[in-house]
């Protein structure tokens, strides 16, 4: 009885499958990634029109624990169709282990892909000449958040150079307040904010993008004077007394998502807890609700200050990159769609969206907020001019980029400027 039931089921599914024919109607495609919360909603929304058109049902499930789960899934063979990694390095790693299908096999027009997303981004997902990573949304990191009204009220000018920023900071300290918000606690990734600072400084000192690229591959050692100089500039921010609200204790203890809260909170004299917060374009989604409403107006950004004026301007950013685990027809269709200029449209229109398309042809008028239009244009321009650089710690081997680099930055914050040499030497030792 049971057996015949099962058989009927089997036959039914077979017949139904056969009737479907060449159409992809009803095919399911699964994607996992680290995007959760509102980013997840936006990413899902991107597929609504696609599903209507093609009938392919795309499900995305984000997880806080994504990086571990995808490793286990790759071992178990029970993989989704796509994984959306926050680091290109992970895509390369998976490709080297033979887990991924190349974009060539997915029948993607490689030339168009390179034109649309820049050869630099495409290169990050390339292994032995084959392209495995699909670029997706990006964020911009070379920005400092501030409140123009607070600056104006006290006659502070937006600093364009590092020296001007330090002068302003000294001024604020002299006025009895704290210039910077700085919090780099992040569960399992504590320290990344300091590595971001280092990277921004690296892009603006030494030989700019050239020395930056050498640094990423360890051709330029951490103990090189250029890197040492960057570390001491960072230490100047972290360790000068009264620069950071709450001092080094706040730096290591404050969850990065809360780090800017002092800016929105006034003390008894009506002064904000801090005036400047260097953090990526996604940070507004962590702000208190009241502050989120004023993003781009009450609280907006100025570019990370210039340090060496002889260098061309560069932008630091990060973003997601997907890899595909098979070459089913539905997978191909989804891959092609994710690389199109239309892909990010639905998410961009959502009121709280903070993710920016890395497609240089993306229609920026689709963004729901002015600030995203500005930031999105900066990314697109930088990509076109080969001045965009990806977060170095995401490109370094995980032992360094997600290990010793982060850890030693935490130690540096606690120990003070005397620890710079030890920190950099330790990172070099850990390079595999």
């Amino acid at each position: 009885m049971r057996k015949s039931l099962l058989m009927t089921f089997l036959l039914l599914t077979l017949i139904l499958g056969a009737c479907g024919g060449a159409s992809l109607e009803g095919e399911e495609v699964t994607i996992t990634g680290a995007l959760i919360g509102e980013d997840q909603e936006g990413f899902r929304a991107n597929f609504e029109s696609f599903t209507e058109e093609t009938g392919i049902v795309v499900t995305y499930q984000g997880s806080d624990n994504f990086e571990q789960e995808i490793q286990i899934q790759m071992e178990s063979g029970d993989t989704p169709d796509f994984a959306l990694w926050p680091q290109p390095g992970a895509v390369v790693d998976a490709a080297q282990r033979g887990m991924l299908t190349s974009l060539e096999d997915l029948e993607i027009d490689i030339d168009a892909y390179k034109t649309n997303f820049s050869s630099y981004l495409v290169g990050l997902g390339t292994v032995d000449g084959s392209i495995y990573g699909g670029a997706n949304a990006a964020n911009l990191k070379s920005i400092v958040w501030y409140q123009p009204a607070e600056f104006e009220a006290r006659g502070y000018a937006v600093p364009e150079t590092w020296d001007a920023m330090i002068a302003l900071a000294d001024q604020i300290v002299a006025d009895g307040m704290n210039p910077f918000c700085f919090g780099m606690y992040s569960n399992g990734a504590s320290g990344w904010l300091a590595t971001d600072w280092m990277e921004d400084i690296m892009l603006r000192t030494g030989n700019g993008t050239t020395s930056y690229d050498q640094w990423v591959t360890n051709e330029l050692k951490f103990e090189d004077p250029i890197v040492k100089n960057a570390a001491s500039l960072l230490s100047q921010i972290m360790h000068t007394e009264n620069y950071v609200v709450g001092g080094t204790d706040a730096i290591v203890s404050t969850y990065f998502g809360n780090a800017q809260d002092p800016m929105f909170s006034k003390d008894a004299n009506g002064n904000p807890g801090c005036f400047m917060h260097r953090q990526a374009s996604f940070i507004p989604s962590f702000w208190p609700e009241a502050a989120q409403a004023g993003v781009g107006v009450e609280t907006t950004v100025f570019p990370f200050p210039v340090i060496d004026e002889s260098l061309p301007k560069a932008a630091l950013g990060a973003g997601d990159m997907w890899g595909a685990f098979n070459d089913r027809d539905a997978t191909k269709a989804v891959a092609e769609y994710m690389l199109s200029a239309e892909f990010h449209a639905a998410a961009a229109a959502m009121p709280n969206n903070a993710r920016l398309s890395a497609h240089t042809g993306f229609d920026t008028s689709l963004y729901s907020k002015d600030i995203n239009r500005i930031l999105g244009t900066i990314i697109a321009d930088a990509l076109a001019a080969d001045a965009f650089r990806f977060d170095a710690s995401d490109l370094m081997p995980p032992e360094v980029g997600a290990g010793s680099f982060w850890k030693e930055m935490m130690n540096l914050a606690v120990e003070g400027p005397g620890y710079i040499d030890t920190a950099l030497a330790n990172i070099d030792t850990s390079w595999p």
């Binding site: 499900t59 806080d64 789960e69 286990i72 071992e75 989704p80 969850y255």
Partner: protein, 300 residues
Amino acid sequence: MTRNNQKWYDKPTTKLILITIAITWMFPLFGFLLSSFRPGESIKRTSWWDAIYTGTIWSELSFDNYVEVFRAENLDRSFYNSLAVTIPSTIIPITIAAFAAYAFAFMEFKGKDILFLFVVGSMIIPLQMSLIPLVQLFKDGIEIAGIPIIPALDLNGTFVATWFAHTGFGLPLATFLLRDFMMGLPKSVIESAKIDGASHFTTFFKLVLPLSVAGIAAFGTFQFLWVYNDFLVANVFLGIYKPENLVVTSHMSQIVVGRFGEAWHLRTSGAVISIIVPLAVFFGLQRFFIRGLIGGAVKG
């Protein structure tokens, strides 16, 4: 066993120390539970003790946070999934362990000591050590010199994978505890059954099983709580990228940790919801639980 009821040492200091300990133990829960009923903005603006002190807290309390958490997609489905994982994962190891415990307690056979040592020894193998080999086993099976011992079953992502995993991980403790419990049963009863000519199978079902209910319930509660509260095994073997496979803990961990660094109103209410079922089970079966443990761990 029974001592006279009049306790000569029941003193106020004893009570005082105990009350202090009890308050210390409940204290962490108190502020947390209270905050689960407060609006998110209030939690951040005023500490809960200040809110009590100024009296503003009473007007703030509401079930809104719980409603918000429950509105999260398909929480009921996650709950059914949790039950589908937990109930077989509790019953299967108990069944297997009860038989083994009976044999270890009442039967004589060659290699008994070594086999029992094997069971007890495996109690200490950390389950993390097994995860990766097991996902590979469920996918590819085992081959020794080209001969398939276990075929490629492709079990990852199914309930049955979690049942097997929890059974394997729970068996050593279950066998150990139940054997200890059964050894505490009066030997004369079992021997009289033997004289009557009853087979071991009959003795097990008719005599030992009913007598061991307390021990079985104790381990059952223990295993139930463990499996229900687990999120590592469920995430690994069920795969959370299929939303229809989420269990309550992994669903809650998405709400509780998530990207809501400061969303204490969701964290607190989410955590409270996730501990309601285990608490209910615990208080419901507490009597068994504690009685069973007595049988298991106390023999001199």
